[in-house]
Amino acid sequence: MASSLPNELSSERLQLLAGVLDAIIPPGEGDDLPGAGELGLGEALQRKAPELVPLVAEGLGALEREMANRQVADFGGLAESDKRSLLEDLGSEQPGFLPALLFQVYTTYYQHPRVLAALGLEARPPYPLGYELEGGDLGLLDPVRKRPPLYRRT
């Protein structure tokens, strides 16, 4: 029932959420890309999208029940294939949970300064510095310049 749903996640739920986030975007191998779970995105989600907290709490509750059914104590200790199986199986009970979480994770992760730095990008908005861009070789147009008019005369 919506009225009994929390406005914020407990520390245990935040820890479980971090494991789920790491399953969605795990740490990179051989580069500096962090896992989504280690960036505090769960806390960020509570701040920036509080309307989603009840949905996420319901999803995590369903995950806890399914873990109990499968006698799993530590989500993070599972093999990647088992994590995927667990999360995808939530779809029948909580169809909105994973799509909403994916959108939030993708949009928050790829805005994080650590991620942008690991991608080789400056962690800044485009304005006011802008960017340099090569003008390019307009000589490439020479074969086009030699063509007769393409437009129909009327």
């Binding site: 969605i24 795990p26 993708y106 485009p126 090569e134 307009l138 147009l141 086009v144 007769p148 129909r152």
Partner: protein, 534 residues
Amino acid sequence: MSEETVDVVIVGAGAAAAAFAYSLAETRMKIVCLEQGDWMNPAEYPSSASDWELRGFGDFGLSPNGRGRPEDYPVNDAESPIAISNFNAVGGSTILYAGHFPRLHPSDFRTRSLDGVGEDWPLDYASLEAYYDDNAVMMGVAGLAGDPAYPPKKVPLPPVPLGQVGETLGRGFNRLGWHWWPSDSAIATVEHAGRAPCINLGPCLTGCAQGAKGSTDVTYWPAAVRRGVEVRTRCRVREITVGEDDRAEGVIYYDADGVEQHQRAEVVVVACNGVGTPRLLLNSRSKNFPQGLANRSGRVGHNLMFHPYAMVQGVFEEPLDGYKGPMGCCIMSQEFYETDLQRDFVRGYSFEITRGVGPIGTALAGMSSGDIPWGPDHHRAYSERFNRTMGMVAICEDLPELHNRVSLDPELTDGNGIPAPKIHYRLSENSERMLEHAVARGREVLEAAGARETSAQAPLPFAGWHLMGTARMGTDPEDSVVNEWGRSHDVKNLFVIDGSIFVTSGAVNPTNTIQALALFIAEQVKQRLANLFD
């Protein structure tokens, strides 16, 4: 209630209204423009903050239904494969447009004579040529002279940079022997008329914080205001009032406080775009016009044209320019613009090459397509696509069809209780065949340019950017809404000047032609002042 009767009241402050008001203001007539949005503050555009990409899905989104700003009105487009995109502010949709600024071709004005489809316009390319030239200076158009796809034309500013994207695709076009050319773009590539030059911010589609893009709030409007035009913002017009003599008397609108006002005027000019204009006319019912104002032909709202878009993208091995540079403006190809009877469709399309998107845009596109999965394979898939994806849109000519139309929704209303528009639209077989052709040719040129994989989507469901044809011009009052210089056949002091009056759509972005037409109509008004209502 205002007791003052002004000479001219213009409804809407977008591309057409700005050009028209600026031109007409040299007469020193009292001109008032009513706009339901407000002046934009460029400092608040998304590209000034770190969440710049996300806001393109929020308060700077394309759809008024998703954006939900108080100045927006809802549009019921649930039954259309193409959703409406617009923006309500001083500057209108030029706030969010890419700045693509091609002209129509001469053949676009003669589709009935040349190809037996659509209708001929009551004017031709030569009639608008001088206005295209004037508009290029006012809007600050960048490009390159010598394009064989067009009659010779003036281009005042140097072209936008090709960048890695333009060069790579240009080589692909050359390998196939196809036409391509730097896009005509309303983007100040050098300082122009007080506007700072483009610094390649990237996200032009959420407003230009630099002020380099030619949105009319930074081009025509400041000049029009200096000439004495009054722009009243946050004023939403409900209806045009009309007298027993079939003359428009003025407009009823809600001001910023929601208070009903009546502005009287000698001349009423409607410039609300191809959806907003028929909506206003259909909402303006009276004893003399029970089916809506200026609608004795029954044509108001009909012949709605979009440009059906196909998007074709390629993934390349080498790094590209990322999201740097004007997003929508780079190069274009009009190899398939004119009718070729060997194809299975008439008329044609343009390819417009798009630059890359940012980190979030890449992730969301990959999520949507399934190309960037979540889980262990995420980073590999992401790195293969980010900064390595580019592509194009094919902008296809849409032919006028009576059944494609704008009506009034029986239930949906805006924040002032004014009935909202409803869209009735389906793709023609000609459009479907054209889209199919465009996707195949798009893949071909991307592969010729070195793409290792391609993907396509057609039609683009969110691409209802270009709204045309719903109050078209013509010489026959039975089959058109306004005459050959924009005046209503039925109401002698009512003008329509936006994309509604297009007879056919061509296969290019319409803003340049909308403004050239607005300048043309303003000139006609100036020349006919002595007998304007005859």
